[in-house]
């Protein structure tokens, strides 16, 4: 089995509901890159995963001709670097400081999504009472901040031909979690951040996104399973 993985050009070790894995799937789809998707059982991680990411033992891991790349945003940048003839996610580096600035801005906002969204979302479904209310207030602020950055743009920008860019791909998987955040937190994304909600709908129309994101209901069911597992209710 291990030999087969190394023969394939691109293999993605992943877990179906992971927004971090979905970033990689969507990026490769946007770039027209064929890849083999391998579902990991996180309760029984494969040897290949443990060998490929010995430090964190986490998905996603991208194997390119057998060499592992770990961490979703690093994978995205790797895909831009290693496949320069495919539609870019980050605005291409040239000598101008304008391009460098646009790339810096994209990295900043993708980092913001990483720092804020997943953790706050987890607190929303895991906690009750005042800590949950605090998580909800924080989530609303995060969504509003992201909306302010989006402004009146169709997308967050920087992608090839005005399509999905680095920040869009970094953020879009979390749109499948909006429904769960709303139900756990008792608020409406449409109400607190209508432009962001519209952006989410717009992204949902794009093939690569529609193909690789689970339905919001499936995500909610998954959280219900987690809640039971962790004794939350």
């Amino acid at each position: 089995m291990a030999a087969a993985a190394e023969e394939k050009e691109l293999v993605l070790l992943d877990f179906w509901v992971s927004p971090f894995g979905q970033r990689c799937r969507i990026a490769m789809a946007e770039k027209g890159l064929e890849f083999e998707y391998r579902e990991e059982d996180l309760g029984n991680k494969s040897d290949l995963l443990l060998r490929s990411n010995p430090v964190h033992k986490k998905i996603p891991v991208l194997l390119h001709a057998g060499r592992p790349v770990c961490e979703s945003l690093i994978i995205l940048q790797y895909l831009d670097d290693a496949f320069p003839d495919t539609p870019h996610l980050l605005p291409p580096a040239n000598s101008s400081s304008d391009a460098a600035y646009a790339r810096a801005r994209a990295r900043f906002w993708a980092d913001y999504v990483d720092k804020k969204l997943y953790d706050c979302g987890s607190r929303l479904w895991r906690l009750k009472g005042e800590p949950q209310a605090a998580a909800r207030r924080e989530m609303v602020e995060i969504l509003r901040t992201l909306e302010a950055e989006l402004g009146d743009g169709e997308f967050f920008g920087g992608g090839e031909g005005g399509r999905l860019g680095f920040v869009d791909v970094a953020l879009v998987p979390f749109t499948a979690w909006f429904y769960s955040y709303e139900r756990c937190g008792g608020f409406s994304v449409e109400e607190v951040a209508p432009k962001l909600a519209a952006w989410a709908r717009r992204c949902g129309q794009i093939d690569s996104v529609a193909k690789h994101l689970p339905s919001p209901e499936k995500v909610y069911d998954f959280i219900a399973v987690l809640k039971k597992k962790y004794g939350v209710e």
Binding site: V55, V69, C70, A99, A104
Partner: protein, 247 residues
């Protein structure tokens, strides 16, 4: 984008085409030190502005409204925030200047970024718990995690350096600067604890790398005074102890 407009700079400064670099920082911050190291390695001139973090200036708040933190690099009036974003920006906006930090090869870049993320997420979280954990137990657990993380970092150094003196190979690279920013704190706490953070017995490559890095001219030019760091650390510890006592 929360637009940060040209912050009152006269129009002539922009039109001239000269590069105006300003760094908002705090003298003891390891993240700020990274940026100073990068600027020093690249031989770039800049104006340094010390920010009072207890009384944040308008300039900081308008340049980094999202996080309100240092470092912020302002290049011809446009702010760049987050130290790793700044390092990559410097590589890309000043391609001719001195050292390029990230390697050219895509896989090597990914590996450098991986260990940089490891430092900033895993190692840092453990260090915070080890130094500032509220209970003895928390601190002991943090310490254990720091030791584990450093052993992994040792593997990372071996992988990246391939027998050469730096993470970047023959010359200083991205990961050297990312980790290098913390060396002032490491040296200060080495003195305070009376024991080396980079144990030559368990992490010989890291220990040797640290000694080598601080001897670089570019590093000597920007390293904060260690005695000042120790004094500052004592102040922070006293503050933490008071906070714990009053909780």
């Amino acid at each position: 984008m929360s637009p940060c407009t040209y912050l009152g700079y006269p129009a002539e400064a922009m039109a001239g085409g000269g590069d105006e670099l300003k760094l908002l920082g705090m003298w003891a911050s390891p993240y700020v030190l990274r940026v100073k190291l990068a600027l020093s390695l690249k031989g770039l001139d800049y104006e340094y502005v010390e920010v009072d973090l207890k009384n944040k200036s308008e300039l900081l708040l308008s340049s980094n409204p999202v996080h309100k933190k240092v470092p912020v690099l302002i290049h011809n009036g446009k702010p760049v925030c987050e130290s790793q974003v700044i390092l990559q920006y410097l590589d890309e906006a000043f391609p001719g200047a001195g050292a390029t930090l990230l390697p050219a090869d895509p896989h090597e870049r990914a590996v450098a970024r991986f260990w940089a993320a490891f430092n900033d997420d895993t190692l840092l979280e453990a260090s915070q718990a080890a130094s500032w954990g509220k209970t003895e137990e928390e601190r002991a657990e943090g310490e254990k995690k720091v030791v584990e993380a450093l052993e992994k970092m040792e593997v990372g150094l071996r992988e990246c350096s391939k027998g050469k003196p730096f993470f970047g190979g023959d010359t200083v690279g991205y990961l050297d600067v990312v980790l290098g920013g913390f060396l002032a704190w490491v040296r200060a706490t080495d003195v305070m604890r009376g024991v080396k953070r980079f144990d030559p017995a368990t992490t010989p490559l890291l220990a040797a790398w640290a000694e080598r890095f601080v001897e670089l001219d570019a590093a000597k030019a920007v390293m904060p005074d260690i005695d000042k760091m120790i004094e500052f650390a004592n102040v922070l510890q006293a503050r933490a102890a008071t906070a714990a006592a009053t909780n």
